[in-house]
Amino acid sequence: MSAIGYILMIIGALFYVLGGLGLVRMPDVYNRLQAATKATTLGTFSLVLGVGIAQPVWFVKTLLIVVFLTITNPVGSSVLAKASYIYGVKPFKLSKNELDKLYKSRGDENADN
């Protein structure tokens, strides 16, 4: 039981490293957010469940933490992405933009003046 837990914990910690690496390597906020959110959510998923499996008494509580984080982390990322767009962070490259009808980016206003 504790062997499976340890394997899951190591996988989770590896995904943390991947998330940090994505945060450093990616070129703009939106891509950084993508890499960081996916990697840290799966990392926490795996690490916390690993702890729950290695200590079976805590399993239900760790499940609650996992459910909580799988809801909050993507929601936080969505809100941050919208805030960055409105704040006026320019994507480094854009092949298509259908968001401009929904909100006004502050970066565009500055470009006009």
Binding site: I10, A13, Y16, G19, R32, V57, L64, V79, L80, K82
Partner: protein, 82 residues
Amino acid sequence: MNTLIGILIVIGAFFSVLRLIFGPTTPDRVVAVDTLNVIITGSIVFIAFLLKSELYLDIALVYGALSFLETIVIARYLEGKK
């Protein structure tokens, strides 16, 4: 084994601190803080496992809730800022 997991977590946290220091815009820094918060929540659970103390799981839950609140509040502040 525990040392290995600890070192990996610290490397991940170190990369997000790098982005926190060098981030060119404010949203970059907020993204870095958000990532760091999730990593810290996970490591609190890991500390609970190391110290064999269930009390730390409560702290992880509270920390997760407060870090979510922090992300949302800063994001809403950035939206309204001139």
